[in-house]
């Protein structure tokens, strides 16, 4: 984690709290904050006077079709907060979003709604490591690790499909990526 500066704009807390109420469009059980797609939040002076609230949005997948919806919802929610003259939601790949960014609360909520959370995979991985990660998923219903991968490609770009050989439930995993 980045070491935070001693003095922080108190409005940032309000902004992050508001963002924490916006659900992920594809998995509404978790918020965009818990998903880890929110980067820096900054208040910047504008050339024409006043202030701009600038929020970084880190796409989960480059081709995520939900990104425009997220961007719009974030823009509308923050504009309604009325803490700056303008709101800018900026897409960035620096740093890249990875599934390691999903918060502990987010992981719990994923489990609660029938998704195995992703494994922690670190800054990079190759094909062999990926096969190893894919082979391990814990059933979100019964906690068994006796599970089988059905398909690394699920109903959305970020989901893989498994089957629990213990409780016989099919389930999805939020992809480790």
């Amino acid at each position: 984690m980045v070491v935070q500066a001693a003095v922080r704009d108190p409005r940032e807390l309000a902004v992050r709290a508001a963002l924490d109420e916006i659900p992920d469009p594809e998995i509404p059980a978790i918020s965009v904050v818990e998903l880890g797609v929110i980067g820096e939040v900054a208040f910047e002076p504008r050339r024409e006077g006043g202030e701009r609230l600038s929020v970084e949005l880190l796409p989960t997948f480059v081709g995520c079709p939900a990104i425009d919806v997220m961007r719009q919802q974030i823009g509308e929610r923050l504009t309604a907060l009325n803490v700056a003259d303008e709101v800018e939601v900026r897409l960035t790949f620096a740093p890249p979003w990875t599934s390691d960014r999903i918060s502990p609360e987010g992981r719990e909520k994923l489990r609660g709604s029938g998704f195995a959370p992703p494994l922690r995979i670190g800054p990079s991985f190759d094909g062999q490591e990926l096969q190893m990660y894919l082979a391990q998923a814990t059933c979100p219903y019964c906690g068994s690790q006796n599970t089988t991968l059905d398909n690394p490609f699920g109903p959305t770009l970020c989901r893989a499909i498994y089957h629990c050989d213990n409780c016989r439930q099919p389930f999805e995993q939020f992809k480790s990526v």
Binding site: F61, F93, P152, V177
Partner: protein, 257 residues
Amino acid sequence: MSDWDLDAAQRDALAALLLTLADDEFVLGFWDSEWTGIAPMLEEDVATSSISQDEIGHARAWYELLASLTDDNADRLAFGRAPEEYRHAALLNHARTDWAFTVARRFLYEQADATRLEALSRSSQAPVAELAAKMRREETYHLMHFEVWLRRMAEAGGEARRRLAEALQRLWPEAQAVLAPLFGEEALLAAGILPEPMESLRARWVERIQATLAANGLPQLPAVEPDPQGRTHRTDDFAWLHGQFTMVARSDEAATW
């Protein structure tokens, strides 16, 4: 999206490179989206569709980056050009054909793309390096998926193995185009935009392909040089696909999305 600090030669060369990246992903994404509904089995139907969606997303990101560099528009770049203006590699000129052909094409392409993205993630131009690094994580899934298919069909023997080996032989010369020398490559190398010559990337790719083929008991492929027309020669197959993917955009050219 980005402020670029490049001279004219660097900008033109980078624009040409970005167009090849975007067109490769775009055309391949469209070809393989044709398997939706008719892949060999239901799980594969979902997988190929998901992978194709990824590729179209990658194409969009490269087109947007290119548009920010040349003050253009990503939709125009994707849908507003004549067939002969596309710069995808020659192995992407063909219709999807059979499943063995698709697996062979994917395997050759995904290995080349992985080699290329690995280099570009070290580019001196931050927007290029960031996008390449992000895509690598997703492309690892694609490569793994088609290597699993390659192994499966090689181990199956019989008709599956024969068709796969034939498709690899047929596509191999045209696959060289993915990593052929680039327009303005010297300018790209001098500025560190491309951190390594394409010739050395191609050599690494050939090694990886041959090693995987050997590990699966498939015949080695002969040494072959890229055709200089490998990104400009277009086919009737591609003209047909172009007609398909531009159909909606052409139906109302003034529409906004």
